[in-house]
């Protein structure tokens, strides 16, 4: 093709548009679309992470027909139902930015997931990298910010009881089975129970550290009343 330095455009020339990428080339994730959701907290749902108790959050899916979400996607009734059962719905921007991310899904629609999950698509397959440390930090921030209360020691005791039953079961197996694997299982189960008990003590100490102000108020009120 001949080049020209003429600034005048040839009136017969047509200017091409930048083409939109074909459908196959669009950056969509090879996953099914899902519904957006809110994270939720329940005072009974805690789990041991390392040597501390962290909340085991649930989800309120904004999906019509699921858990009292109505025909228009209004979650008010669903939220009321959850609250009646002791749950707290956490707004998207509850702490340190919005916790939800969306991606275009294959076949249309959006795919929603927590921001700590990063997808990588290799040959049509999606691999997720989960930054669990950052997620756990965020859970700690929720607690420090007062969004999530300190766990109740009785709830933690009930959770430790489940582990205690497990230790007993594994102990029974380890008595019959002297293999190294069975003994390791027993050691791991015991070690988790010990960690749970230690974490419960720590949580109780944290609770007491926060409590004195309230207790003092109550005492003085009683004294005043008397």
């Amino acid at each position: 093709m001949a080049h020209t330095f003429n600034s005048q455009q040839d009136p017969g020339a047509l200017e091409g548009n930048i083409p939109a990428p074909p459908r196959q080339a669009q950056r969509t994730l090879n996953v099914r679309a899902n519904a957006p959701f809110y994270l939720t907290f329940h005072p009974h749902r805690w789990h041991l992470v390392g040597d501390e108790w962290l909340p085991q959050l649930g989800k309120l899916k904004v999906s019509t027909g699921v858990g009292a979400v109505d025909r228009s996607g209004d979650v008010t009734a669903a939220e009321v139902e959850l609250r009646k059962r002791g749950w707290t719905v956490l707004p998207w921007d509850v702490c340190d930015g919005v916790y939800l991310r969306e991606f275009p899904a294959k076949g249309g629609g959006r795919f929603y997931i927590e921001r700590w999950a990063t997808p990588k698509q290799v040959g049509g397959r999606v691999f997720w990298t989960i930054d669990t440390d950052a997620y756990h930090d965020w859970l700690r921030q929720l607690h420090e910010g007062g969004v999530i209360p300190t766990p109740d020691p009785d709830v933690l005791d009930a959770l430790a009881d489940i582990q205690r039953s497990r230790v007993e079961r594994v102990q029974g197996v380890a008595r019959r089975d002297t293999s190294q694997a069975a003994q390791q299982d027993l050691a791991a189960a015991r070690s988790k129970l010990e960690a749970m008990d230690a974490a419960t003590l720590e949580a109780a100490a944290g609770r007491q550290a926060k409590a004195p102000a309230k207790k003092a108020t109550r005492k003085s009120t009683t004294t005043k009343g008397a």
Binding site: T64, V66, D70, R85, T132, R166
Partner: protein, 306 residues
């Protein structure tokens, strides 16, 4: 030799490829939970005045036990505690559109009839997805985050229900990875469990859906189990009868386009809509359904590595 009739020379009389007579279905989860006895059906809301149904609970059936009262003492009133759960039905739909040219050239079975029939499977899978979207939310949980499920997690869940006096039948709907983790753990199990026929059965190859029964708990694997803990884990549910319920709604008998009559009681309405100008046929399926947790204490969420 010359003038042999070769395949390579028959460009006008042979095709580069032909379509197999039978359309194959791409890999997808097709197992659904419709009619499982552990899911309570709360009726059809047609003509009931609302899209929401309140399910009342009262502490009857022996929940309040008689107490010893002296011969000459007066008894006092005992309150009946009542609660309720709400289920709201909503429209679930799927629409497809096919051109006449696509329809008339069909030789493999991808046509209007196939798309219409597929609506029922699509409704069943949506129902399953909805049920699994609520059973991850029981307030009781077992399992360890980012740690593979083992047989003890299964027992933890089962014992949680037993200790809460939850009546059967029990069902557990794990994510397929949770199921294979259980199988892996069962392989190494010693003691009484290794001799149970159900244990050996659990190790056999499993397809989709019903995967066997362990300790009387129906196991029903599904890839629709939601994630938990920033998608690091799967949150499946194990529950007994009365934990989860659903309601649905059927529309009135109507005469649709083309004189197709949809009789009363049709749960999934599949209708056709013609666009004559565009030579297109639209197939629309509608299903009105809602589900919710009825009694939280009748279920437990099993949260382990995904």
């Amino acid at each position: 030799m010359a003038n042999e009739v070769l395949y390579s020379g028959l460009g006008n009389a042979r095709l580069s490829s032909i379509l197999h007579q039978e359309l194959q279905v791409a890999l997808t989860d097709q197992a659904h939970l419709w009619n499982h006895p552990a899911i309570r059906y709360l009726g059809d809301l047609r003509g009931r005045g609302s899209t929401a149904v309140d399910v009342p609970f009262a502490n009857l059936g022996g929940a309040s036990r008689m107490a010893a009262v002296a011969e000459n003492a007066s008894s006092s009133n005992t309150d009946v505690t009542d609660t309720k759960a709400t289920i709201t039905i909503a429209r679930q739909a799927l629409q497809r559109q096919i051109s006449d040219l696509a329809e008339l050239t069909d030789s493999a079975g991808l046509n209007v009839a196939a798309l219409a029939q597929d609506m029922v499977a699509s409704a069943a899978m949506r129902f399953t997805e909805m049920i699994l979207d609520v059973t991850d939310g029981f307030s009781s949980t077992v399992g360890t985050t980012t740690v593979d499920l083992d047989v003890d997690d299964f027992f933890d869940a089962q014992f949680t229900l037993t200790q809460a006096s939850v009546p059967g039948p029990y069902v557990w709907c794990p994510y397929p990875v949770q199921l294979t983790d259980l199988q892996n753990s069962l392989r190494a199990e010693s003691g009484a469990l290794q001799f149970m026929p159900a244990t050996a059965d659990m190790l056999a190859i499993k397809g989709q859906g019903y995967s066997g029964s362990l300790n009387g708990v129906d196991i029903f694997a599904s890839s629709l189990v939601p994630t938990a803990n920033a998608a690091a884990d799967s949150a499946s549910g194990m529950w007994g009868l009365g934990a989860v319920g659903y309601a649905d709604g059927t529309t009135a008998p109507v005469t649709g386009a083309g004189g197709i009559v949809l009789p009363a009681g049709t749960k999934i309405m599949v209708e056709f809509e013609r666009d004559a100008a565009g030579a297109l046929t639209k197939i629309v399926g509608n299903y009105y359904v809602g589900c919710a947790i009825l009694e939280d204490s009748r279920g437990v969420s099993v949260i382990t590595d995904r």
